[in-house]
Symmetry: C2
Subunit: 171 residues, 2 copies
């Protein structure tokens, strides 16, 4: 049985890896992939899976931390699995990565303008306005997103949802 | 053993549901959730999981299709699972949803300007430029993203990665 553990921050002392896996839309794919990581004691920070241009395949992006030698073994085992078409380990290659976060921030008549100003500086978007909250969409790499969220914490984060990272090679 | 199937488009005749699940960062959570869906013959269109404001929890967003009665049972069963703190079924409530897509589009000296123009109209961003390609970040709800991708197909999609949808209630 596959086990999976989303790493809490205090376990995040290892190097981070971003793995992109192109899979066929077949039963059991997610379970088998997750099982490979957890079987080696590898935690998953974020995971996402979505359709590609080809209706028969999906692409999964997994962000994980651990030592390089173990990860190399995982990548080799992934490549051997049926229904897995391609595995890319972005730990060394040049790549572009982005994440999307929706965050609902507490505001009142005094703080609304300030939150709007910060949103503007980060080139993020206000996607909903309520009397006591603003919902903001921010995209970027991890450091940008984390910086923005730290600022929003000072106003009060009511709700938050993150897609996890997706990545594409530059070349 | 949990089995999961990413629905190919020809199976997408059912109503779509967006489920947001707040989970504790414990072993086996992803497997157990995926198992509940697949055990009822429910396919998953997209799935993502990422950290929340609380280091002990993660939020998972699952987009699935199927009949309402079965989904209600799944939600009830999810609520009973240990390590699951909250389940929201966004099929009826008013909510905001967004997805992020990175797409690498083939361009040459003739088509580059046209792709840039369309990118501008969709308020999306060019995040990388290569001699024969542009990589574009687009965010939005499904209909906006799908419309943009259909347009990009006419130029040639080289590579594509999607985060899957995330959602927050408006209120």
């Amino acid at each position: 049985m596959a086990l999976i553990n989303f790493s809490p921050p205090y376990q995040r002392e290892f190097m981070r890896h971003t793995i992109s896996v192109l899979v066929e839309n077949k039963f059991g794919v997610l379970t088998r992939i997750a099982g490979l990581f957890s079987g080696r004691g590898y935690n998953i920070d974020t995971l996402n899976v979505g359709p590609t241009d080809d209706p028969a395949t999906s692409r999964m992006t997994i962000v994980t931390r651990g030592d390089d030698a173990t990860l190399e073994q995982i990548v080799k085992q992934l490549e051997k699995l049926t229904d897995i078409l391609k595995v890319q380990d972005f730990r060394e290659d040049e790549y572009i990565d982005r994440e999307l976060v929706l965050v609902k921030v507490a505001v009142d008549s005094k703080t609304r303008a300030e939150v709007m100003q910060i949103t503007d500086i980060f080139r993020s978007k206000i996607v909903d306005v309520q009397p006591k909250s603003l919902t903001i969409e921010i995209t970027g790499n991890e450091s940008k997103v984390e910086k923005f969220l730290r600022l929003m914490k000072t106003f009060g984060v009511i709700d938050l949802t993150r897609t996890g990272k997706v990545a594409l090679p530059r070349k």
